[in-house]
């Protein structure tokens, strides 16, 4: 589904991605882990077209997308939930959701019912300003907003950041449910080990701009020291 080879990218004059190779297979949840400043967010932004790679290839669904404009990549079928959520705080919940559907023709812009099945809290509070939501609710809104665009691949950047643990669990369960019911492929950057152990099928570890280790979740469940080796300071 997503095949990244030898990807290089710089940000603010420093070379952040230094030859990333990463494969995400159809239908799986891939967790991308690593310490801060190793290039995880830069990788997500580069996939999404917000940052132009200096070299390398990103093949999505059999088609090269590196260097394409973000709005086209979105239409290709990649949904993005950035770090810090970036919901539109001055807009209502309904407006935030509708923004996810604006790329479709006028008659296909209705919000699918499943969205509210996954996130019932959004259904009752559509007219509320998104900025008045708690962090966890904003995160749900950001995920729902991405899902409205009917992505084949969802990029999630640290969805648990700054959110209370019970909501993190809930979000993890919802993601797992969407993955198994709708077959949505997910690439998730996360520091919260408990959450990703719960939902991910495969793990990739990033260090200094490259992927240094790949393994299935079973391997980590057998030996959790693999994780601590890559993420603890």
């Amino acid at each position: 589904m997503l095949n990244i080879t030898n990807l290089h990218a710089s940000y603010g004059g420093s070379r952040i991605l230094q030859g990333v190779n990463l494969q995400v297979a159809q239908g799986q949840i891939m967790a991308l882990m690593g310490r801060n400043g190793m290039g995880k967010t830069t990788l997500m932004r580069t996939i999404m077209g917000l940052l132009r790679p200096s070299s390398g290839h990103i093949i999505f669904d059999g088609k090269p997308i590196q260097g394409r404009q973000s709005y086209k990549i979105s239409s290709d079928g990649i949904g993005y939930v950035p770090q810090g959520r970036e919901i539109f705080g001055d807009f209502t919940v309904a407006e935030n959701l509708r923004l996810g559907a604006l790329k479709f023709d006028r008659k296909n812009r209705d919000i699918p019912e499943e969205i509210f099945d996954y996130f019932p809290i959004l259904a009752q509070r559509q007219d509320q300003l998104a900025g008045s939501f708690s962090g966890g609710e904003q995160q749900m809104l950001a995920i729902a907003r991405a899902l409205v665009g009917r992505p084949k691949l969802l990029l999630l950047d640290e969805p648990s950041e700054g959110i209370q643990p019970s909501i993190v669990d809930e979000i993890g369960q919802i993601l797992k449910k969407i993955n198994s019911e709708a077959g949505l492929t997910i690439l998730i950057v996360e520091q919260n080990v408990d959450m990703v152990l719960e939902i991910a099928d495969n793990f990739s570890f990033m260090e200094k701009g490259i992927i240094v280790h790949n393994c299935p979740v079973q391997e980590i469940k057998a030996d959790e020291s693999i994780i601590t080796g890559y993420i603890s300071v």
């Binding site: 999404m48 077209g49 917000l50 404009q69 973000s70 709005y71 979105s74 239409s75 993005y80 950035p82 970036e86 539109f88 001055d90 807009f91 407006e95 509708r98 923004l99 996810g100 604006l102 790329k103 006028r106 812009r109 907003r145 991405a146 665009g149």
Partner: protein, 286 residues
């Protein structure tokens, strides 16, 4: 004391036209961070469209329709051939649009000469309003401006196109990641903002002596109205337009146009000192 209602009505019609001009300016600035120095000349082009149709003998009304269309197309061309290469380079856009403004002024001088030109009054009759008699055309101005202001608010607050534009203003990268074509939004908005200035110029043409410098007389107060009102929301421009336009017209009537300029600028400085984001301004989040 029949003067007072007339004064208030006059200043109200001035405020509304000022808001029209400022609205185009603020939409373009809010969305793209472009300070369009040629905005006053878009006003000028609108006015001269009416001068042209009037002198060709087809009268004022076709000119009023043509002005926003012609000026909108000029704005579209400016965006396509110039502005789109300069996004995120504020100083360069100021210089480029300033150059365009000079070029437009000189073109007008070449084709129409430097002297002031008059347009035949389209609605010369007076309307009896009980206490006073008031020019029908000024009433038309109020009605037309109010409708266009209302229409703009409707577009921005109630339609999908407006929602997309507001999203691009609030967070361009996120909007793009959701599949919104930000460049297309820029182009449409620049065209729309230009057309508003053209319409305002056409509306004002019959009340003014049209000369190549007339754009500046609206550009500066419109700019002040934006500074005073704030760029974060469209409603800021209503407040800014009322403060700047209201005090300008009332003081120049009571004292002189010169003292009104001094007062308006001082007022703008004070407001900006107290509320740097403008009366209704909010911080932009990048």
């Amino acid at each position: 004391m029949a003067d007072l209602p007339i004064l208030l009505l006059n200043s109200f019609s001035y405020i509304l036209v000022l808001i029209l001009v400022a609205m185009g300016l603020v939409i373009i600035f809010g969305l793209m961070g472009v300070i369009n120095m040629a905005h006053g000349e878009f006003f000028l082009l609108g006015a001269y469209t009416v001068v042209m149709t009037d002198s060709l003998g087809i009268g004022f009304w076709p000119g009023l329709i043509l002005a926003p269309i012609i000026v909108g197309l000029v704005g579209l061309a400016l965006e396509y051939f110039c502005i789109r290469f300069l996004y995120d380079r504020v100083l360069d856009t100021i210089l480029a649009t300033w150059g365009v403004s000079i070029a437009i002024k000189q073109l007008i001088i070449i084709f129409f000469g430097p002297a002031g030109l008059m347009v035949n009054p389209p609605l010369p009759q007076l309307v009896n309003m009980g206490l006073i008699e008031y020019p029908a055309y000024r009433l038309f101005i109020m009605l037309a401006s109010l409708s266009v202001i209302g229409f703009t608010f409707f577009i921005f607050l109630k339609t999908d196109m407006g929602l997309a534009a507001r999203a691009v203003i609030a967070n361009r990268n996120m909007a793009a990641s959701l599949g919104i074509n930000t460049r297309q939004i820029y182009r449409n908005t620049f065209t729309f903002g230009s057309a508003l200035a053209g319409l305002a110029g056409a509306i004002m043409a019959p009340l003014m002596s049209c000369d190549p410098q007339m754009g500046l007389g609206f550009f500066i107060p419109a700019f002040l109205a934006i500074l005073v009102g704030g760029t974060g929301s469209l409603s800021g421009i209503l407040a800014g337009g009322m403060v700047v336009g209201g005090s300008d017209s009332i003081i120049s009537y009571l004292f002189s146009p010169v003292s009104s300029q001094i007062v308006v600028f001082t007022l703008a400085v004070i407001v900006i000192r107290i509320k740097p984001q403008g009366i209704l301004g909010t911080k932009r989040n990048e």
